[in-house]
């Protein structure tokens, strides 16, 4: 892998937290590189520190040691160049769909007309046309997550960080959201770091899968995925890959 087209990289990141029961090491010397427009999936069991890793990449949490490099520069703070889609949506309940999507643009003091135009484009892209004036509580889980994706996209980030975005959705919505995310990504390619604990979702979406261990989280293995998207859940190659990956994961009882 040549370093020239590396978009975002983590170098030797460690992180631990102090709790009542002592110190817990959450990440142990994690390094990874994501190429421009690559769809990287980080797969790991519940509580393996993958969310913390994502927060480090986003700059929300400072790592104890190691650094995050974006475009060759060290990351110290969250910034509009990295959009985050949170598991619990993190929509602003007091804002309409349109104002939520336009939030990042408003923060940058873009004129109202312009920002609503951009917002509209992404609302249309995620298929929420007609819901511009709804409030988040009026939407279903899948719709909320679409708003969240649109909000990140509208801000035109270089890197999209997605933290188990579909884990709170029911299975069928989840399938259709995966499909939709893929088609959005095909239309507007971005560098994506996608976190999940679902093997099928990982194989369905990823260009490359990074498998993490249980606490303290380290990178156990990488699986490049070359077959063309969209992939079929019952293809022999899909099932083989699923078997190969799940053999490597630990059973979390």
């Amino acid at each position: 892998m040549s370093t020239s087209n590396v978009k975002i990289a983590a170098k030797g990141i460690s992180k631990s937290f102090t709790t009542e029961n002592g110190t817990i090491q959450v990440l142990d010397n994690v390094s990874l590189e994501v190429k421009t427009n690559e769809f990287l999936v980080i797969l790991g069991p519940g509580q393996c520190g993958k969310t913390i890793l994502l927060n480090c990449l986003a700059g929300i949490l400072p790592p104890d040691s190691g650094e995050v490099i974006l475009n060759g520069k060290k990351v110290t703070e969250p910034g509009p160049d990295r959009g985050v889609v949170f598991q619990q949506y993190a929509l602003f309940p007091w804002k309409t769909v349109r104002d939520n999507v336009a939030f990042g643009l408003a923060i940058r003091h873009m004129p109202v007309k312009e920002r609503y135009e951009i917002a509209q484009k992404y609302i249309d892209l995620v298929g929420l046309t007609g819901f511009e004036k709804s409030y988040p509580h009026q939407l279903s889980g899948g719709m909320k997550q679409r708003v969240s994706i649109a909000r990140s996209y509208a801000n035109n980030p270089e890197v999209l960080l997605m933290d188990e975005p579909f884990s709170a959705l029911d299975a069928q919505t989840r399938y259709s959201m995966e499909k939709e995310l893929l088609s959005i990504w095909e239309q507007e390619k971005r560098t994506v770091v996608f976190i999940t604990n679902n093997v099928e979702e990982a194989i369905y979406l990823g260009d490359r899968i990074v498998l993490m261990t249980k606490l303290p989280g380290t990178i156990k293995m990488e699986f490049p995925l070359t077959s063309p998207k969209p992939r079929n859940y019952t293809d022999a190659s899909f099932l083989e890959m699923r078997l190969a990956i799940s053999e490597e994961t630990e059973l979390a009882l």
């Binding site: 910034g79 509009p80 949170f86 602003f92 939030f103 923060i107 940058r108 409030y135 509580h137």
Partner: protein
Amino acid sequence: MANAAAANLKEKIGAVFSFVIFLALWQVASMAVGSEALPSPADVVAKAQEMYTSQIGGKSMWMHIYYSLRRVVGAYLLAAVTGIPLGIAMGWNVKFRKIANPIFELLRPIPPIAWIPIAILWLGIGEGPKIFICYVGAFVIFVMNTYTGMRYTDHLLIDAARTFGATRRQQLFNVAIPASLPSIFAGVQNAMSMAWMCVLAAELVGAREGVGFIIIQGMDLNNSPMIIVGMITIGLIGLFLAVSLRYLEKLLCPWRRELQ
């Protein structure tokens, strides 16, 4: 939807039914007791008519209500204007919190009503102590609710704003304060009922006008219908204040309209 309407109707019939039972029991009880102390519903209605058309202590009933309301609303607005910013400051700024919180925590457990004697000592027996008591009662609630709202703002929302590059100031005004509004509004309601209770207490202890004065006058005159009319008036005004605030909340927080 037909079921919902039917259920609604059933509830209304139930309400009417329970009121009828209540009035009947009251009537029976007053006949059984047969003393001045427990007037019948009819006596109370007659008394209400009399009270609202004549003067008590040199003022009409409406004037008494006006006096009470003036005290409450004045103190309440003052408490909102001072309490909400203080709560925001305490919630947002660690330094400020550390300085203000201990004094606040020291004074908070003292019920506002316990301030009445010292308020009278400080401010005499005019409007001053009554407004002061209401102010204390409402102020504490405003501060506490605003502060709690700020402290319990979902961290995720702040994080989300940070990922869009929001400055600290933008995080405060665009995220933390709006996110605290539900809690602040809960405070707005509670502060009002607290202020209303405080004005009553202050008027009971020493006043020549106001609804509290009416019921204490009733007690002094040994006139229980008068007290009951006063109490009902108090309840109705309290209800009116609460309903208007709820309406205001719906107006100002449209995103919460369907949450309740």
